[in-house]
Amino acid sequence: MSADEWQIVWFTAWVSALSTIIIVPFGLGIAWLLARYVWPGKSLVETLISLPLVMPPVATGLILLKILGRRGAVGGFLHNHFHFDVVFTWRGVLIALGIMSLPLFVRSARVAFEEINPRLEQIARTLGAADLRVFCTITLPLASRGIVGGMLLAFARALGEFGATIMVAGNIPGKTSTVSLAIFQNVQLGQDANAFRLLGVSVVLAFAAVWGSEWLMRRRKR
């Protein structure tokens, strides 16, 4: 593999991992609120979070492009005040991956929270534990399988993301090109050998992610 290809693989792996790490605290908070409380606007938030799952990724990417572009509400503000650009940079890739994989993580975490017997948390409170301690020592450990599973799903989704990424970040070699984008481009240009090498790498990455999480779960169970 060429240095350029290694760069693409490395970039894809770390930007996917970073997007997964960033969505975890948000996702846990949202999943917790959805699982345990009834509040006004709950179904609206539920729908908004799930939209990227059901909409064509390219459409989600277009929305992000419009919001985050230099003429968009958020992107314009960032550019004018901080000279900070999101679209067509690695930050655009990061946001596209995060938005696309968030619903998968929230769903897994929510189910995991809902499966915990609330009595366990109540009893922990009667034993003198404050809410944060209950969450960290009872809720999180009991939901950990679902949370780790959700993180794996989110990471896998991020590794393979295509539509939203190409809209928000383009396919700039050495800057925003990911494995999926590069495979597509190589096939378009008739460079099948390059495409197959990257294909092999994505298979290895996927195996490593699945095995890694299985190993983590087994360790937890002991």
Binding site: N117, R119, L120, A124, T126, L127, G128, A129, I138
Partner: protein, 358 residues
């Protein structure tokens, strides 16, 4: 001192839980059918639910006062809770479960020291194990110990023995009695089991459809049931404190009032002790006349005190050295020409004299 529940109300489906009680006894049993609001009552005291009105005070400290918007959160109430499903933390070891609420060095901790509680409840061999492979009785004891280790000022127990079979129950009850005697904290004990009530209760509150149907000692509550809907309460039953004098070949000699009874009961520990003597009204046979030859072990000379109609039957209250209640058909009473003041002999077979150790 004690637990004060004043004008408590909590709407439930399909009734409203209402409660007014000043609880001073060591073990107060909340007795009633499932769905009577027993668990909700414990949740209110523990601070896991909010009443819509009322005051809850523990040893003079206000825990809930709806009118004054006082609500002490569950973690600050000092109330130990043993829930029905036991709720042991499945991801923690027995030791970690036990220590979850333990605050060494705070308050009256010498009483609730780890080593002491582990010893009282016989948990020495369990502490290194995981909780998922414990037996029912072991889980029960670990949950109880976990609650005690949080140095509670009140212990709530919600049908803690419901999932155990009868034999295991008789093994666990002595542990509960030890907790009652050693830790000097009031216990609110919810059950729909007569046997547990008789074995443990100092006071009994009968709850039916969210309301107090009856309150008093076990003798009062079971001997004179005020609410026929209460499960396990019989239309007529004698429940009297007695003292076991000796046990020989499964035959137990027990003193009740000024009478001596013979009971046949297996699996009773040797030696003497206090017990409730329970005789169902329909297990009592009344005989008039002098010469009696009967296989029944207990022949009790008695005087008829009163006759009361109970549905199709007659309840006969007798005095035979202790208050005894018999349940006869109306026809039998008429044929025997029974009336207050009559001298009769009450016959009770030894297996019909049930002993519940205290």
């Amino acid at each position: 001192m004690g637990l004060l529940l004043k004008n408590i109300s909590l709407p439930l489906v399909p009734f409203t839980l209402q409660m007014d009680a000043d609880i001073q006894a060591r073990i107060t049993v909340i007795f009633g059918p499932s769905g009577a609001g027993k668990t909700s009552l414990l949740d209110l005291v523990a601070g896991l639910r909010r009443a819509t009105s009322g005051i809850i005070q523990l040893n003079g400290r206000v825990l809930t006062d709806v009118a004054q918007s006082v609500f002490v959160p569950a973690r600050q109430r000092g109330v130990g809770y043993v829930p029905q499903d036991l709720a042991l933390f499945p991801h923690l070891s027995v030791r970690q479960n036990l220590l979850y609420g333990h605050k060494p060095g705070i308050g009256h901790n010498h009483l609730f020291a780890f080593e002491r509680i582990v010893e009282v409840l016989d948990l020495q061999t369990l502490t290194q194990r995981g909780v998922t492979d414990l037996s029912g009785g072991e889980k029960q004891r670990v949950t109880l110990a976990r609650a005690l280790l949080s140095s509670p000022r009140l212990l709530l127990m919600d049908e803690p023995l419901a999932s155990l079979d009868a034999q295991l129950k008789t093994r666990i009850i002595p542990y509960l009695a030890r907790v009652r005697d050693e830790f000097h904290i009031p216990i609110l004990y919810v059950t729909h089991d007569r046997y547990e009530t008789l074995a443990l209760a100092d006071e009994t509150i009968v709850l039916a459809d969210g309301k107090v149907a009856q309150m008093g000692s076990v003798q009062d509550v079971f001997g004179h049931p005020g609410n026929p809907a209460v499960p396990g309460s019989l239309p007529a039953e004698t429940i009297q404190p007695g003292r076991i004098l000796k046990t020989e070949n499964d035959l137990v000699t027990v003193a009740v009032g000024s009478a001596i009874l013979t009971a046949a009961q297996e699996q009773l520990p040797a030696g003497t002790g206090e017990a409730y003597v329970c005789i169902r009204g329909d297990d009592v046979i009344l005989v008039k006349g002098k010469e009696i030859f009967s296989s029944a072990r207990n022949h009790l000379p008695a005087i008829v005190l009163s006759l009361t109609r109970v549905g199709a039957l007659m309840r006969i209250d007798l005095s035979c050295g202790f208050p005894l209640t018999a349940l006869l058909t109306k026809q039998a009473c008429e044929e025997m020409l029974l009336k207050p003041g009559d001298h009769v002999t009450a016959l009770v077979k030894a297996p019909h004299v049930h002993l519940i150790l205290r």
